[in-house]
Symmetry: C2
Subunit: 337 residues, 2 copies
């Protein structure tokens, strides 16, 4: 590590000006050939790296973007991150990860990082803005792309999947197998993503003329243990379901775990459909039937949109909708008689 050479050191050693060195190193095409090569060579030899603070201060850009999620601990976000990262790197940007844990203060902190020059733009996947009066106004024209979740009426560009449609497809699959008593464990309401998936469930049920009994729509929080608990409650009902559509895979794992403890066979006694297609879902036993999202693609699309905005492009009015796939595996079977 030791000495950190600066542009001036290189310049002095070659008897040229600092400006020339800067130009040579930035491929500006403004430096002539005998000098150019010598500068590059010396820079490499001295192991020179430009100081980012100085450069960012001067250029007023950080060449970094912020990707903000609720919970870095959720493996779901990782493949999205990979998509974001690959696209960002290709454009010379680095990616900072932000983790809010649903804490409003931390949400604000990440928005602050935009204002203090830590990052030039943000991909927001928390599904909400900090609950502060007038907050939206203060960030309305910032370079922000909302992905995965939705923030209505904020005017930000969106990259999403059709949660409602995907949920409807999943429930229709269950209905097609002859199930009539189908329950839904949702995510936190009234968050839009949770509501959309629940709406898809309701739409499919209604279209098939099936009733949704009291207690068939317990509200969860996407966590494993909650799936377990809500499943138990479902089976304390006078008329328990024969199929459950769960709003995400993690809760679905909890549900299946609990069903097993209750001595019920999956899918013999109860069918289960999840949502997300985590990398473990296929190796789970039984392999989980679930809705698969193009995660890396979501990341790439969001980052591309953000790059457009940073380059001065306009913000797209219409959300980008990416397609989902229902992966039919081992946790769904015809309804028991």
């Amino acid at each position: 590590m030791n000495e950190r050479p600066k542009i001036k050191d290189i310049a002095e050693r070659l008897g040229v000006s600092a400006a020339t060195v800067s130009r040579a190193l930035s491929d500006s095409g403004l430096v002539a050939e005998p000098t150019l090569s010598r500068i590059r060579e010396v820079a490499r030899e001295m192991n020179y790296r430009p100081n980012v603070s100085a450069r960012n201060l001067r250029t007023q850009r950080a060449m970094a973007v912020l990707m903000v999620v609720r919970d870095v601990g959720n493996p779901f976000y990782l493949e999205i991150l990979k998509g974001v990262e690959a696209t960002a790197r290709a454009a010379g940007y680095s990616v900072l990860m932000g983790n809010t844990e649903n804490d409003s203060d931390r949400e604000v902190e990440y928005f602050d990082m935009l204002r203090d020059g830590h990052a030039d733009g943000m991909i927001l996947m928390t599904g909400k803005l900090p609950a502060r009066e007038g907050f939206l106004d203060s960030v309305a024209d910032a370079p922000i792309v909302v992905a995965l979740e939705e923030i209505r009426d904020a005017g930000f560009p969106h990259v999403m999947i059709d949660n409602e449609g995907a949920a409807r497809d999943a429930v229709e699959h269950l209905i097609g197998l002859g199930h009539k008593r189908i329950a839904h464990i949702s995510g936190p309401v009234p968050e839009i993503m949770s509501v959309s998936r629940r709406n898809g469930y309701r739409a499919a049920m209604q279209a098939a003329g099936l009733a949704i009994p009291d207690g068939y729509e317990p509200v969860g929080d996407y966590l494993l243990h909650t799936g377990q608990r809500l499943c138990r409650e479902l089976f304390e009902l006078p008329q328990p379901p024969t199929a459950i559509f769960v709003a995400n895979d993690e809760m679905a794992f909890g549900v299946i775990h609990e069903l097993r403890r209750l001595g019920l066979d999956v899918p013999g006694d109860v069918s289960v459909v999840g949502f997300d297609d985590l990398f473990l879902s296929e190796a789970f036993y039984p392999p989980l039937t679930t809705v698969s999202q193009p995660r890396a693609e979501i990341g790439r699309a969001a980052m591309n949109m953000l790059l457009d905005m940073l380059a001065g492009g306009l913000t797209p009015r219409k959300p980008a909708m990416l397609p989902t796939t229902l992966k039919i595996r081992g946790t769904t079977a015809p309804a028991p008689k």
Copy 2:
């Protein structure tokens, strides 16, 4: 977003100097009371945030650290990250995530981020240095803490678990259940972590006087599908094992998945022990017997060590060894006759 007020704006509005504003905002205790409060108030009112590039340039510190892993996609790292992050935040540092994908160029890039001022220190969890001649010398005195994996002879402080001891305990558990034909699916050799776990396996086998037949030590790469494939190969052997100690949970999931496909019961026909205790391991079916590491604690310990170094403390000579626990769950049972 709009206007980004600077210190000068605040100063002018109050008729004080920029220096005073800077001092007031940094809690230096050098500004007297009538002024102090007014500055703070105006700063809040103007929604002021100091520009990080300018500050970092001036102070020559980024107040950020880099946590570099092989694969952000591995949920294993997430809880470590949480530990690192919590400790870092408390000390006023932010955490940048680095993802190498085992690519030497990317590894170098992250070291460069130390030199270009992006970060002040690094927590390295890749288990190796970039394979460049003289590389070690160039970073030998950088503020780097190695966690999880080990880099021998580099002189960096380490935060680790006793991989060999934990592996030996795991295998002894199997031996205690009466198993004699025990195979081990390892991680990539010759990486130290993989080798350590394999050594633990060998030590336990030898101590029990058990032979390790040819083909009983297939080498994997910690990935799900590899576990599947190597398991299949194991059962094409003339004398297949009755128990398998797998170097991580992800491969163990693959192994169990494959055993099921082969029509073998876990743990009735074959016992399996993993290593990591992922958050899904307990909900898996059968619940996985595995070695649990104190992940968040590893993150906290590593970050604390790094903070010490950044504060000018000495680098500890002896690695910090954190304790592991063998979680005995549902994938291990007495050996079949």
